[in-house]
C-alpha cells in the first residue's frame, strides 16, 4: 500500500527579473492506494499532478509530510522502494543509441534481475507487447508507438509492485493509448498498485477504481467515479470537475 500523508511541495520561482517568491505546487495532499487498485489523479495542466507523482517516485522530496510504501520510507529505504516501483511519464525519454534489447537488459541488470531470468522476461515481454520486429533496432529509429511499448517493457522488466504513471497516454494516438490502458488493467488484475495521473477525464472514468481531483495543488474531491458523479449531481467526471471548481479553470 502506498500512503501519502499531508504532503506539501514548495518551489521558489522568479516573480520578476530580480525578485523570487515561494509557491506551493502541492498543498497538504493525503490519500492511500491499496494493492490491486488504480488511483486516478485528475486535474488540469499545472494542478500539481506531475510534482505529486515525482514525489511518489522519489525524484522530488516533499517539503512537508511523508510518503510510505508498506511502511517503508525514502529516507531509510530509497533503493528498496525504487526496486519495487515503475515510473512512466508522457515525457519519459529513453537512451536513443541503445537497441530495445540493450535497454531492457540494462534495466534488468540495474534492478538486479539475474541473467537467466532477464533473458526469459525479455522474451516474454517482447512476445506479449509484439516487439519481436524491433527488439534489436536502435530506439532512435522507432516510431512513437513502438517507443512507448519499449517504455512499458522497461517498466515490466523487474516485475514491480507499484506503477506510477504520469500522463502516460498524452500525445499518443488511440492505438498507442489503448496499449497502455490494456497494460494498466492487466497489472491491476495481478494485484499491483497503480497511481495514474491524467487530464483525460473519460479515460480515468473507464479504468480508475478511485479518483483524486486536484486543482491549484489541493485535493478538491476524492472517491469512486460513481460517488463523485453522485455527489456533484453530474453524469461524467468532466462535468463533476467543473462543478467542483465553479466552472472556470484558472491555470497557475
Amino acid at each position: 500500500m502506498i500512503k501519502v500523508e499531508h504532503v506539501t511541495k514548495k518551489f521558489v520561482r522568479y516573480k520578476n527579473k530580480r525578485e523570487k517568491e515561494e509557491f506551493c505546487a502541492d498543498k497538504d495532499i493525503s490519500f492511500s492506494a491499496n494493492d490491486g487498485e488504480i488511483i486516478g489523479i485528475l486535474g488540469p495542466n499545472g494542478a500539481g499532478k506531475t510534482t505529486l507523482l515525482r514525489m511518489i517516485a522519489g525524484i522530488l522530496e516533499p517539503s512537508e509530510g511523508k510518503i510510505t510504501f508498506d511502511k517503508l520510507n525514502y529516507k531509510d529505504n530509497e533503493i528498496e522502494i525504487k526496486k519495487s516501483i515503475a515510473y512512466l511519464s508522457g515525457n519519459t525519454k529513453l537512451y536513443d543509441t541503445l537497441s530495445t534489447y540493450e535497454l531492457l537488459k540494462m534495466c534488468s541488470d540495474i534492478y538486479g534481475v539475474n541473467e537467466q531470468e532477464s533473458k526469459k522476461r525479455i522474451e516474454e515481454i517482447s512476445k506479449v507487447l509484439k516487439m519481436d520486429q524491433f527488439l534489436y533496432n536502435k530506439i532512435e529509429n522507432l516510431s512513437t508507438g513502438q517507443t512507448q511499448k519499449v517504455n512499458i517493457a522497461r517498466c515490466l522488466i523487474h516485475n514491480p509492485k507499484y506503477y506510477i504513471l504520469d500522463e502516460a497516454t498524452t500525445g499518443l494516438d488511440i492505438i498507442s493509448s489503448q496499449i497502455i490502458l490494456d497494460f494498466i488493467k492487466k497489472e491491476r488484475e495481478k494485484g499491483k498498485t497503480i497511481i495514474y495521473s491524467t487530464h483525460y477525464m473519460e479515460e480515468a472514468e473507464n479504468i480508475c477504481d478511485r479518483v483524486i481531483m486536484i486543482n491549484k495543488g489541493r485535493i478538491i474531491k476524492s472517491g469512486t467515479p460513481s460517488d463523485i458523479k453522485k455527489d456533484t449531481n453530474t453524469t461524467n467526471l468532466r462535468d463533476a470537475f467543473f462543478a467542483m471548481i465553479g466552472g472556470v479553470l484558472d491555470e497557475e
Partner: protein, 382 residues
C-alpha cells in the same frame, strides 16, 4: 547482482563509442599533434636555414664606392640602383627587400619591420659593420697606425659547453602541452552529454527513478568521461613521440637532440595523462551539471580549453620550473611535470605531490556532484 556502478559505466561507454561527435573528439583531435609538430618543425627550419636570395635585393639611393661594391658582391647582395622615389616605389611593389639612403656620412636603412625585411636589415647591418671596419682600417693605415692594435684591443670567443637546441625543445614542449589541450577537448563533449545532455534529452528523470545510489551514477559517469580522455591522451602521446622521431630525421633543427624516450619517461608521462584525465573529467562534469542545456554547458566549458593551455605557455615564456608547491597547483603542475619528463628529469616527489593533490581535488569535485544528484536540484539545474 552486478554493481550498478558497472552498469552505468557500461551504458556511458556504449553511448560514448556510438556517438559520432564523441568519437570524433576522442580520435580526431590527436591527429592535429603530428600536424603541429611537423608544421612547427618546417616553419622553424625555414627560418633557421633561410636562403639569402630570398632577402638580398637591396636598393641603394646613392653612388656606391668601389669598396662597397666589393663587399656587396662578397656578401651576395643583389644591388639595385635608383633614386629614393624610384626605390620607394620598387619597395612598395615588393621588387626589393629594403633600400638605403645616404645623407653625407649618415646611412638610413628603410624597411617596414616585416619578417623578411628583418633578415635584410640584419644582412645590411653586417654589411655596414664590414664597411665601417674597412674605412677604419684604411684611416689608421693612412696615419701609420697598426689597425690590429686599435681595433682588436680585446678579443671575444664563444665556447659552447652544451648544445641547447632552442627550436627543437620548443617544439617538444609545445607538443606535450597540446596533449594536455587534446585531453581537455576530449573530456568536454562527453562530460556535457552525460549531465546537461541527459537533462535536455529527458533521460535524467528516467535515470533518477532507477534504484541506483547517486554515488554510483556519478562515479560511473566520471569513469566513462575519464576513459574517453585517457584514450585521447594515450593516442596523442604515441602520435607526438612518433612525429618527433620522424621530424628528427626530416629537419636539421633537431641536431644534437635525443628524441628517444626511456621506458620510465613513457610510464610517468602516462601517469600524468591519467591524472590529468581524471582531474579534467571531474571538473567538466561538475561544471556541466550546473547547466540547464547542452549549449549552456558547452559555453561554460569552452574557457577550460584555454585555461588548460595558458599556465603552461606562461611557464615556458618566463621559464618557471617545477617546485613541490607548484606540483599541487592545478593545470600548471601537469604541464610543468610533463615538461620535466619530456626533458628527461623525473622527480618522484613532485610527481607524488601532483598525484596526491589530484586525488584530493577529484574527491572534492565528486562529492560536490554527488550532493547535487542527491537533491532535486540536478533535475532543474541553476
Amino acid at each position: 547482482m552486478r554493481s550498478n556502478l558497472f552498469n552505468i559505466l557500461k551504458k556511458e561507454i556504449r553511448e560514448l563509442f556510438r556517438d559520432k561527435k564523441s568519437l570524433a573528439m576522442m580520435l580526431v583531435i590527436p591527429i592535429f599533434i603530428p600536424l603541429l609538430v611537423v608544421g612547427m618543425s618546417a616553419l622553424f627550419e625555414s627560418q633557421v636555414n633561410k636562403n639569402v636570395e630570398e632577402y638580398n635585393k637591396i636598393g641603394f639611393a646613392y653612388d656606391m664606392s668601389d669598396e662597397e661594391k666589393n663587399i656587396a658582391s662578397q656578401m651576395n647582395i643583389s644591388v639595385v640602383n635608383g633614386s629614393e622615389e624610384e626605390l620607394n616605389k620598387m619597395y612598395d611593389d615588393g621588387e626589393i627587400d629594403l633600400y638605403i639612403t645616404k645623407n653625407e656620412n649618415k646611412y638610413v636603412i628603410n624597411s617596414d619591420g616585416s619578417d623578411n625585411s628583418t633578415y635584410s636589415t640584419s644582412l645590411m647591418e653586417t654589411y655596414f659593420n664590414t664597411y665601417k671596419q674597412l674605412l677604419q682600417q684604411s684611416y689608421l693605415q693612412q696615419n701609420n697606425i697598426d689597425p690590429n692594435e686599435v681595433l682588436n684591443i680585446i678579443t671575444v670567443e664563444e665556447n659552447i659547453v652544451e648544445q641547447d637546441n632552442f627550436f627543437a625543445n620548443y617544439i617538444k614542449n609545445y607538443a606535450f602541452l597540446f596533449i594536455i589541450m587534446a585531453i581537455t577537448v576530449s573530456a568536454t563533449y562527453p562530460a556535457t552529454d552525460t549531465t546537461a545532455g541527459e537533462r535536455e534529452r529527458g533521460t535524467l528523470e528516467t535515470l533518477l527513478t532507477f534504484p541506483i545510489k547517486s554515488r554510483d551514477i556519478i562515479v560511473g559517469k566520471f569513469l566513462g568521461v575519464s576513459i574517453s580522455s585517457i584514450v585521447t591522451g594515450v593516442i596523442s602521446l604515441i602520435l607526438a613521440i612518433i612525429s618527433l622521431i620522424i621530424s628528427q630525421d626530416m629537419f636539421t633543427i633537431y641536431e644534437g637532440i635525443d628524441i628517444m624516450y626511456s621506458f620510465a619517461s613513457i610510464v610517468f608521462a602516462l601517469v600524468i595523462i591519467i591524472a590529468y584525465s581524471f582531474f579534467i573529467s571531474g571538473l567538466c562534469i561538475a561544471i556541466a551539471s550546473t547547466s540547464k542545456t547542452f549549449k549552456e554547458a558547452q559555453s561554460a566549458l569552452t574557457p577550460l580549453t584555454f585555461i588548460s593551455l595558458f599556465p603552461g605557455m606562461i611557464a615556458f615564456m618566463i621559464g618557471i620550473t617545477t617546485t613541490p608547491i607548484l606540483s599541487i597547483v592545478p593545470f600548471l603542475n601537469y604541464t610543468l611535470i610533463f615538461t620535466d619528463i619530456n626533458n628527461g628529469n623525473i622527480d618522484v616527489l613532485n610527481i607524488s605531490l601532483m598525484a596526491i593533490s589530484t586525488i584530493i581535488y577529484i574527491t572534492a569535485v565528486l562529492a560536490y556532484i554527488i550532493k547535487q544528484y542527491k537533491s532535486e536540484k540536478v533535475l532543474f539545474a541553476k
